[in-house]
């Protein structure tokens, strides 16, 4: 198994900082400018200390008192990732100027790679086959069966940069019920069985605004993740 057998499911870029109190005075300027650049912007959450907006149902931007974040979701084509990098760089820079920030206390990039299966047993077997976990065999707790839903999690830190790696299997349910009397569509019930390779790359030191290029940092972090993932996946 290697990373190419997974699909990149979501990317989240997040920057944390000490409270940017100017948010209370200038948040409107940020969202006004973002809507001018992306007329399809829809706000999904609005509170004094946190506003979240979606662009084209492809990107999500969040500006908070102590946090800026941008997300994008499956399907992630190279063109979409390139646009996302531009979005992160441009709008982090706008937020930084607006809030007059000088330091970022934490910068993080989270990538979730996902592989789907027809049942949780197959997903679990695949994770266990990587031999990252030592599982006792035989009957335990009065139950003779196969282990399901394994989770493996570990962190590496060098004092400046850190990385958390999670491998997990999960079962997700989607249920959509039509309103009473609605005949336009049937009730939807779906179950998904996933093997997620979830990576969180982050800084452990405060970084001056003048030291940080979002586009360079994200690209490099993504490259390092692609390069070194074989250690876990056995590829």
């Amino acid at each position: 198994m290697d990373l190419s057998s997974f699909q990149l499911y979501s990317i989240t870029f997040e920057v944390r900082y000490d409270p940017g109190f100017l948010l209370y005075d200038k948040a409107g300027l940020f969202w006004h400018a973002l809507r001018q650049a992306h007329p399809t912007l829809k706000l999904t959450q609005v509170a004094p200390a946190k506003v979240v907006g979606n662009i084209d149902d492809q990107y999500q931007v969040s500006l908070e008192l102590e946090r800026f974040a941008a997300d994008t979701f499956n399907p992630l084509t190279p063109t979409k990732i390139e646009s996302y990098l531009g979005l992160c760089g441009t709008w982090l820079s706008r937020a930084t100027d607006m809030l007059e920030l000088t330091l970022f206390s934490r910068i993080g990039l989270r990538l979730i790679y996902r592989k789907s299966y027809s049942n949780i047993g197959d997903a679990s077997k695949e994770l266990l086959a990587l031999e990252l976990l030592k599982i006792p065999t035989g009957k335990h707790f009065g139950i003779e069966g196969q282990p399901v839903g394994p989770v493996y999690s570990i962190r590496w830190e060098d004092g400046k940069l850190g990385m958390q790696v999670n491998l997990r299997t999960q079962q997700r349910k989607l249920a959509v019920e039509p309103p009473l009397g609605e005949r336009a569509f049937e009730r939807i019930d779906k179950e998904f069985f996933d093997f997620d390779f979830d990576l969180d790359y982050y800084t452990m030191v405060s970084v001056a605004v003048g030291q940080f290029s979002a586009k360079d940092w994200i690209q490099q972090a993504m490259r390092v993740i692609r390069r070194d993932s074989g250690v876990f996946l056995g590829g």
Binding site: L103, S105, R106, I107, V205, S206, Q211, F212, D216
Partner: protein
Amino acid sequence: MSGSNVIPFRFQSGAHQTELSARQTGNLEIAAQTAVVINAAPSREQVSSAESIYPDLEGSSTTALAVALGLLQEADQLLGEAVSAAENDNLIAADDAAQRVEALLPELFCCRSLGDGFGTVILSIYHGLNNLGGQPVSKSQIAVMAEAIRRLRREPLLDYDAALVLASKLERSGMSVDPPSLSIVGELLLD
């Protein structure tokens, strides 16, 4: 509020503290008012060099940032040698090192997409050295150039205002940081 007992509740959550106050009036009642206490001071050590936060600078050697950081490291080292030579009154060696820094500046200028601050500092040093008209650089000028390059190495995406402060320091050391053509325009305007 007189006659009522105020009982503080304090919850610790990460770097933030949330403090609730409750009044005891027979039965315990949480007051409607809540005070949020947020630590405003930076809680983490600050990184000293830009290089250390980028996960794979070697693998991205063609990007403006990687090229700039490589050249700035070289310029920083040369200016360090120039400062040492100047302190030992070896002004010829100091000037030689400064000239080698000058040779790096056009390539550094090609990395100006990093920001206006970066371009401003590089151009100021470039014109400052050019406008000396063959005169050797002084000890103080070398020291200020070294400070400017070190700052850029630490903060390559330096903001424009901070870059102007560095340009002013270069000017105060006796360097003219404007392009020569600008003085001709100035004279024409005065005429």
